[in-house]
């Protein structure tokens, strides 16, 4: 079902046009990178602050709270462009091992956020009141850095795999015995 969805998606008029356009596709990819610079930069600085390695002159609450909304805008740009790239080659992505890994890692980021939400992200001012940065917060930051870096690397990896769609399609044909007849139909088609 998922497979038929991705096949339908990539052959919609919009994604067919995007796939075929010489300029739109690389522009979308560039904007994906701009999003990564904006979002990734803020994620790294926030995590480095939680680890106690950067922006130590400002409170954790100041850094975490002020980056919250801009980070969402950066993520929105990155995800939107990412979805546009996925949609134009959806079936290839469906079989792409790096894309699958990337989705798993994105799910893990969500889990990380939920696990540490209450102890770290919901009340960053409490981290400032603690005598030292709590281990929980440092762990959350380290995991976030590791996960987001891996996600970016998997994204780069997607372009290095090209699932052999023609072979996959050939294997998926039902072996009903009609293949020969179908081939004959096509070969004996009258030329216009």
């Amino acid at each position: 079902m998922l497979l038929s969805f991705v096949q339908w998606l990539q052959f919609t008029g919009f994604f067919t046009a995007l796939r075929g356009s010489a300029y739109a596709y690389p522009i979308v990819m560039s904007l994906h990178m701009v999003g990564i610079a904006l979002f990734g930069g803020m994620v790294m600085l926030t995590d480095l602050r939680l680890l106690g390695w950067s922006m130590r002159k400002h409170s954790i609450a100041d850094v975490v709270n002020q980056f919250r909304v801009p980070k969402r805008w950066g993520l929105l740009l990155t995800v939107t462009c990412g979805f546009l790239m996925f949609g134009s080659k959806a079936e290839e992505y469906y079989y792409n091992a790096f894309f699958r890994t990337k989705l798993i890692l994105l799910t893990l980021v969500l889990v990380q956020e939920l696990v540490f939400y209450r102890s770290v992200y919901a009340d960053p001012a409490a981290l400032d009141r603690a005598p030292a940065i709590p281990v929980n917060a440092k762990l959350a930051a380290a995991l976030s850095l590791l996960l987001w870096t891996s996600i970016a690397c998997c994204g780069r990896g997607i372009g290095y795999i090209e699932p052999p769609l023609d072979k996959i399609h050939a294997q998926m044909l039902p072996h009903s015995g009609y293949e020969g007849e179908i081939a004959l139909c096509f070969s004996s088609r009258p030329t216009p």
Partner: protein, 152 residues
């Protein structure tokens, strides 16, 4: 006699270097953008652009060095191809302009706690230059020597 570039004997070297390149530009351009958006009055509003610049300059420099050295190694894998690739040449023009701008006019703008009246213009120029670097980098892969974008 030609000496084989050891980078080209491993299939993993190029993609791994690209990952370092991505982390480097996210760190450097990301931190510069934080200061630029602050100059524009967006994002970190409880700190002045000057404070933010003081907090982030070392990370910016670290990211730039990572990006530059991974980039030089990537370039060394096939210098002729890059030399003939027009987006690469445009990227280099943007990159050199962006670095010079960053360490001269941009630095002066964020050196005082109250940014000069042209602060917003400086922020826009900085953002445009760095975006140019990113766009140039992506388009490198979409141009084939002797052909236009996308091989058409």
């Amino acid at each position: 006699m030609f000496i084989e570039n050891p980078l080209n004997s491993s299939a993993l070297a190029f993609p791994v270097l690209e990952c370092f390149h991505i982390v480097g530009f996210a760190l450097s351009i990301g931190t510069i953008a934080i200061v630029d958006f602050s100059l524009l009055g967006v994002g970190m509003r409880r700190q002045t652009p000057a404070q933010l610049a003081k907090d982030t300059w070392l990370w910016t420099l670290g990211g730039l060095i990572l990006m530059l050295f991974s980039g030089l190694l990537l370039f060394s894998s096939d210098p002729d191809m890059y030399y003939l690739n027009w987006p690469f040449l445009i990227k280099m023009v943007f990159f050199i302009a962006a670095v010079i701008f960053h360490y001269t006019i941009h630095r002066k703008t964020v050196s005082t706690d109250t940014p000069p009246p042209n602060g917003k213009l400086v922020a826009c120029v900085s953002l445009v230059l760095w975006c140019g670097v990113i766009f140039g980098g992506i388009f490198i892969g979409f141009v084939y020597p002797g052909l236009g974008i996308g091989g058409v």
